[in-house]
């Protein structure tokens, strides 16, 4: 079960080992055609020579083509399943049919037309692995990248496109110098039957009668299978050359079911693109040329057999990746370096221009007065001072306001004024303004806050004062204080006026006691005034 994808890892050379049970021939590929070839006996001495050849020749990938009697084919049906299920079924079949060999392959050739439509599978194996094992061990010892192993019957379908006309039922008759007479029946591109017959040494006996005898045998067998019909006859192709080809030509008579074609091997070689010509009627060079040209997928080689081919692929991958990294790094580094040089030139140009403009600027500056700081900073310093002046505060405005209102209310005597300036109108005063809510509560109707425009800064004053003279009339006192608060509120810039305490706490929350005969000598009150400065609306 060693079917694998076609390998195309070779970057340069390649070669083929054509192997039979008696001989082994090596064909080297050179400039798109067969190059030199070497022939070895399939015995210990031959393998020693082959080992020497391997040592002395470049370690190109090797494609192996076998043509041996010990290759068996079995047509089977298996359920139409895929993946692991199919592998399991095929493994069971292989164990039953070809127990003792690792050189096994199968191919699906179609499906049954009835029933559960099982797959038709052609299984084949090299039943005597000892024929192949010594060669494979030798190749492994020499670290030869074995691209794959296939056989002449399996590979014969690749010859069909070279034939003069297409035929659905093609019987290929070919002679291989190292194996014998091979008869392979191919139906619609699929291998059906293949048979190898030993032939006497070339030149010792005429081949014509042998071929006729063997062709007659297989013809009878095919007739028994009823594969041919008048609508679909069998085309027999004799792949020969020279005198034997002429001998075959006209020696067979066509019938309704059988047609004969004598095909010159040299025509096939020409059609396959080879410049090589043969005089002997053997197909070995044609098969080797097609094998190296097409490089078919591996059929029989195990993963272990092909490990050096896989390692070679990995090595090539590593080399390619390394080259990619190297050239990528060079390209990236080179581009960056070119960019850097460009930036360097532009930077130098900028420096030159800076020096030029600096000189011009200094010349232009000479006509300007010497300043301790830059002109922009001169303007900024002036603006800072202006801003500070805008926000400069003093109690002048508050004192003017209080002075004018006290003049209008002569009964009011100021005891103390606590004053602060802040950007926050709610800022707390140190001396008790913050306790306004905790002090004697303000009369609610007197604590109204008017809607005021936005001010830059606020002056906040806590004023403590008294009414003098005071005759004990609290009602009148409250009215007077209210009038004062209203007058302050109406003054320009006043943000808020809040009466914090009155001479008499008349709120419902407070305890109140006194005597109708007694008169209170003082009417003390306090209020908070917030004055806005710098209307910015």
């Amino acid at each position: 079960m060693t079917s694998s994808l076609k390998s195309r890892f070779e970057f340069s050379g390649r070669r083929a080992l054509f192997l039979s049970s008696q001989k082994a021939a090596v064909y080297q590929w050179r400039k798109g055609d067969l190059g030199s070839s070497f022939l070895f006996d399939a015995n210990t001495q031959g393998r020693e020579h082959f080992a020497r050849y391997l040592t002395e020749s470049p370690n190109y990938p090797l494609h192996i083509l076998v043509d041996i009697f010990e290759e068996e084919f079995r047509a089977e049906t298996i359920p139409h399943v895929f993946g692991g299920d199919r592998d399991a079924i095929v493994t069971r079949k292989k164990a039953r049919l070809f127990r003792d060999t690792p050189y096994f392959q199968y191919s699906v050739q179609g499906r049954e037309t009835a029933g559960r439509r099982d797959d038709n599978v052609l299984m084949s194996a090299i039943t005597n692995p000892l024929l192949l094992d010594p060669w494979m061990q030798l190749l492994d010892d020499h670290k030869v990248p074995v691209a794959g192993v296939t056989s002449v019957p399996l590979f014969s379908a690749a010859l069909v496109p070279l034939l003069p006309h297409a035929a659905d039922n093609a019987l290929l008759i070919s002679l291989q110098s190292i194996s014998g007479l091979r008869q392979t029946f191919i139906q619609k591109g699929k291998l059906r039957i293949s048979r190898l017959v030993h032939m006497p040494r070339y030149g010792t006996e005429p081949y014509g009668p042998h071929i006729r005898e063997e062709v007659e045998k297989i013809r009878r067998y095919l007739n028994s299978l009823r594969l041919a019909s008048p609508e679909d006859p069998i085309d027999i192709y004799f792949l020969l050359t020279g005198e034997l080809l002429e001998e075959v030509r006209g020696a067979y008579r066509d019938s309704a079911l059988i047609r004969h074609h004598a095909v010159d091997l040299n025509d096939l070689l020409r059609k396959s693109g080879s410049a090589r010509r043969v005089a002997a009627p053997f197909s070995d060079p044609l098969l080797a040329h097609q094998l190296l040209r097409l490089r078919p997928a591996n059929a029989y080689a195990t993963r272990r057999n092909r490990r050096y081919a896989s390692l070679r692929t990995m090595r090539h991958g590593l080399v390619a990746a390394g080259c990619a990294f190297l050239f990528g790094g060079m390209a990236s580094g080179g581009l960056d370096f070119i960019t850097a040089m460009d930036l360097k030139q532009r930077g130098d140009a900028a420096t030159s221009k800076t020096q030029f403009y600096s000189a011009r600027y200094e010349m232009a500056r000479e006509r300007l007065p010497k300043t301790p700081v830059e002109s922009a900073d001169i303007q900024l310093a002036v603006e800072v001072a202006d801003t500070l002046r805008q926000y400069k505060t003093s109690p002048r405005e508050m004192m003017v306001l209080l002075g004018s209102q006290v003049q209008q209310h002569p009964q009011v005597q100021l005891d103390s004024v606590e004053w602060i300036a802040s950007t926050n109108p709610e800022a707390k005063l140190e001396g008790g303004g913050e306790n306004a809510e905790e002090s004697p509560p303000p009369a609610p109707e007197l604590g109204l806050t008017a809607q005021q425009p936005a001010y830059r800064i606020f002056q906040i004053a806590l004023v403590k004062a008294r009414l003098a003279p005071f005759d004990g009339d609290f009602r009148q006192a409250i009215v007077t204080i209210g009038a004062l608060a209203d007058a302050l509120r109406a003054a320009p810039g006043v943000h808020n006026v809040q009466v914090l305490s009155l001479p008499l706490d008349i709120s419902s929350d407070a305890n109140l006691q006194g005597s109708s005969q007694a008169t209170k000598a003082e009417a003390v009150f306090s209020m908070k005034i917030v004055l806005g400065i710098g209307n910015e609306t």
Binding site: R307, A340, A350, E418
Partner: protein, 209 residues
């Protein structure tokens, strides 16, 4: 491929070559990038200098106008003690002079050491830093008008810019007696800041006279 099928002698050279290629390629790419970044930085710096000086050169006329417009005021601020060094001696002399001139019965002051000041209002200081010396002022005034006149004198004669942020005025007696010149009727206590603008980096501003 199984591990036991790997013949490392086949891959060793390619692996070494691959690692070397990665290292060399990475070094080339990294080195090129580093050089490019360095040059980019240098170019950016040089170009910024060029942009700055060319902008200045093109704006030199504007600069001249700016200097003509603001430099006289800058000089006034410098000589007025607002920019550069503060004029503590001048403040003291002004206060003493004002006390005598206004016949303020009692005038006391305390100036604390200068420190950086962060205003509560928005102020673009640029390269400058605002400094402040806090002063406490305490005086016995015959009436409220004394404080106003004192502030007016400070405004006109003192070198510097001040701002009062808190004051407290308490009446000493129920009856204001303005005839007694040596006894105050109102105790005034004020807290104020004397502002000075200096360069933030500590460089002294010197005006060539």
């Amino acid at each position: 491929m199984k591990r036991e099928d790997i013949d490392w002698s086949v891959l060793r050279g390619a692996l070494v070559g691959f690692v070397l290629s990665v290292v060399v390629g990475g070094a080339l790419a990294g080195g090129g990038h580093a050089v490019m970044k360095s040059m980019q930085l240098e170019f950016t710096r040089n170009n910024a200098l060029f942009q700055g000086i060319s902008g200045k050169y093109l704006a030199v006329d504007e600069e001249e106008k700016q200097i003509k417009k603001y430099f006289p005021r800058f000089l006034d601020l410098y000589h007025g003690g607002i920019i550069g060094r503060e004029e503590r001696l001048n403040w003291i002399e002004t206060l003493r002079d004002a006390g005598e001139r206004l016949r303020i019965p009692s005038l006391n002051y305390e100036i604390r050491s200068q420190g950086a000041f962060a205003p509560s209002f928005p102020l673009n200081l640029g390269r400058y830093q605002l400094y402040s010396s806090e002063m406490s002022l305490s005086l016995q005034a015959l009436h409220e008008g004394d404080l106003l006149r004192l502030l007016q004198l400070l405004d006109t004669r003192a070198a510097g810019l001040y701002s009062i942020h808190a004051c407290r005025m308490n009446k000493s007696s129920q009856v204001i007696d303005v005839t007694s010149g040596d006894k105050g009727n109102i105790l005034v206590q004020c807290e104020m800041n004397w502002f000075t603008v200096k360069l933030a980096d500590g460089t002294e501003i010197k005006v060539e006279t």
